[in-house]
């Protein structure tokens, strides 16, 4: 049996912080007075996200999600909702752009403090099929704000 230690790329992919968000998701559950709600799924692995926002004027006051799926998609949703509270819509869309840049392997984006816990997901950029998982909640966000 191969007992070599897990490959460093894998350890980078499955960091403690990601597993923590996966197992103890923040802002999970329905939002009673949502103004925006978008459901997206990723048919490849069956990830599901139902993102609910309460937007007041130009500002996101509350963001919650309901979902199930792999650690990457669920941690990304949890981390994203942490960041959205009290952001303006343009700020939220700018974050979505930074997140996409990080998924394309942009080093500067991966260091950008405005991405908060999401920086732990930088390792996903090395796993092309999993990028969709990390971007699923962000795609729901842009659909909600632009749709």
């Amino acid at each position: 049996m191969d007992t070599s230690p897990p490959d460093p790329q894998l350890s980078a992919l499955y960091q403690e912080l990601i597993l923590d968000h996966y197992r103890r998701p923040r802002n999970k559950g329905a939002l009673d007075d949502a103004t925006h709600s978008v459901s997206l799924n990723n048919p490849l692995c069956g990830d599901e996200i139902d993102l609910q926002l309460r937007v007041d004027g130009e500002v996101i006051r509350e963001a919650r999600f309901i979902g199930r799926g792999c650690s990457i998609s669920q941690a990304a949703a949890s981390m994203m909702t942490q960041l959205l509270k009290d952001r303006s819509i343009p700020q939220a869309l700018a974050l979505a752009d930074r997140m996409s840049a990080m998924m394309r392997g942009d080093q500067a984006a991966a260091q950008d403090k405005t991405l908060g816990d999401l920086r732990a997901l930088a390792g996903v950029s090395k796993f092309p099929v999993r990028i969709k998982c990390a971007l699923l909640p962000w795609n729901a966000l842009t659909d909600a704000l632009k749709g």
Binding site: D2, P5, D7, S11, L19, C45, C133
Partner: protein, 409 residues
């Protein structure tokens, strides 16, 4: 057991390395790799024999037609078909089942009739029947499965009470590996006058199939799951049923005489093979059949059962792993979950060690709902897999467990 390491030498793709590791291909229920003999047969066909079939008046076209018809006869012998003309080449199982639903089903199912399927059917043996029943105003009845993933025979009996027109089930489940008692199910369905459709996608590659012994009416198979090329497959049927059926697709080859406003149709099987067929696919599939016959289906089945038994034993020793499906009457498909590690995460982690498994719903969403899981991880074996690869699978799973904090790293 078979000498898997030696057989692997016949499959050029399996010599590759993946992420720095020997490739361990355990996704054979999805598709199988191709031996050199199949690759050579296809290349040889194009190098020496290619012409359009059934229409040329020259030697080359006659030889192409002979190669195509010889492939049909070979496949007919392989599954003990009623007759070679009862073998209709299709793109695979999906097209074969759609053909039955679209031609036989549309002609025979009426409003108020019942069609029976099972909760372990692949979407391709479910959705065509949903479409038919919706179109006709017929009832689709899904037979439940038992806790350990077998067809619930008492529910099957109840489903037969309204005397369904069609009963469809898989011989072997792609998601659980269950080998269903197909002959018994067919006998019970015939007793109430139903026509029996067997999804043979997962049985034909892995055990000795005798369609006359099963006494089903229609049997669907996919070439790519049995070492043959993608886009090859067949519907095997009782010739008298095919003969009485209206055509499925219209076009060249399937006609006899064509007037401005109507046509008469060719004999079976040509009536159901409109257009230029996939001759390369048929020739490649025949080479795959010859390869499987040389190894022997009985030995293949025995080998895979040993691999599945070893895998189940190794996996269930890992705390937190759940294996689905029955413990006996099963083929070489092992579906499992590991604690709260999502199957897709398991697949990514295993891929880093060069191990290919499937993660997802396995085109069986109704089954996943009944198992109460959104998805499972699935390892599925074939003749070229060995016990060393079961070891690799178990070892990589322990690594996944370490990454997710289940076992000390």
């Amino acid at each position: 057991m078979l000498d898997a390491a030696r057989l692997r030498g016949d499959f050029p793709l399996l010599a590759q390395r993946e992420n720095g590791h020997p490739l361990v291909y355990l996704d054979n229920a999805a598709t199988t790799q191709k031996p050199q003999a199949v690759l050579d047969a296809i290349a040889e066909y194009y190098r020496t024999t290619n012409a359009n079939v059934h229409r040329g008046a020259y030697g080359l076209a006659i030889r192409a037609t002979e190669a195509y018809e010889a492939a049909r006869a070979q496949l007919a012998g392989f599954v003990n078909a009623w007759a070679p003309e009862g073998v209709v080449f299709t793109r695979g199982t999906t097209e074969a089942i759609n053909l039955v639903a679209g031609a036989y089903g549309r002609a025979h199912v009426r409003a108020g009739d019942t069609v029976v399927v099972t909760a372990m059917d692949h979407h391709s043996n479910l959705v065509p029947w949903q479409i038919l029943c919706q179109e006709k105003g017929a009832t689709l009845r899904m037979v439940e499965i038992s806790e350990d993933g077998r067809i619930d025979l008492s529910d099957y009996g109840r489903a037969l009470e309204p005397r369904p027109k069609i009963v469809a089930f898989p011989y072997v489940s792609n998601a659980l590996g269950t080998v269903n008692p197909a002959a018994q199910l067919a006998r019970l369905a015939h007793a109430v006058g139903a026509v029996v459709v067997v999804d043979g996608a997962q049985s034909t590659p892995h055990l000795r199939v005798d369609v006359q012994g099963l006494d089903c009416d229609f049997y669907a198979l996919s070439g790519h799951k049995m070492l043959g090329p993608m886009g090859s497959g067949a519907l095997v049927a009782k010739p008298e049923l095919l003969d009485a059926m209206p055509p499925y697709h219209g076009g060249g080859e399937m006609i006899s005489r064509v007037w401005d406003d109507r046509s008469t149709y060719n004999n079976i099987p040509h009536k159901f093979e409109a257009g230029t067929p996939n001759v390369e696919g048929a020739v490649g599939l025949a080479a795959a059949v010859a390869y499987l016959e040389r190894v022997g289906l009985e030995r293949i089945a025995e080998h895979e059962q040993a691999l599945a038994a070893a895998a189940i034993e190794r996996l269930t020793q890992i705390e937190g792993v759940t294996v689905y499906g029955p413990r006996d009457h099963r083929a070489g498909v092992v579906s499992f979950t590991y604690g709260d590690i999502h199957p897709h995460d398991i697949a990514t982690i295993l891929d880093q060690d060069g191990i290919c498994i499937r993660a997802g719903h396995h085109c069986a969403q109704p089954l996943m709902r009944r198992l109460n899981v959104p998805a499972t991880a699935r390892a599925s074996f074939y003749l070229y897999n060995g016990l060393d690869e079961v070891d690799a699978l178990a070892g990589a799973l322990v690594k996944a467990g370490a990454l997710f904090g289940y076992v000390p790293a």
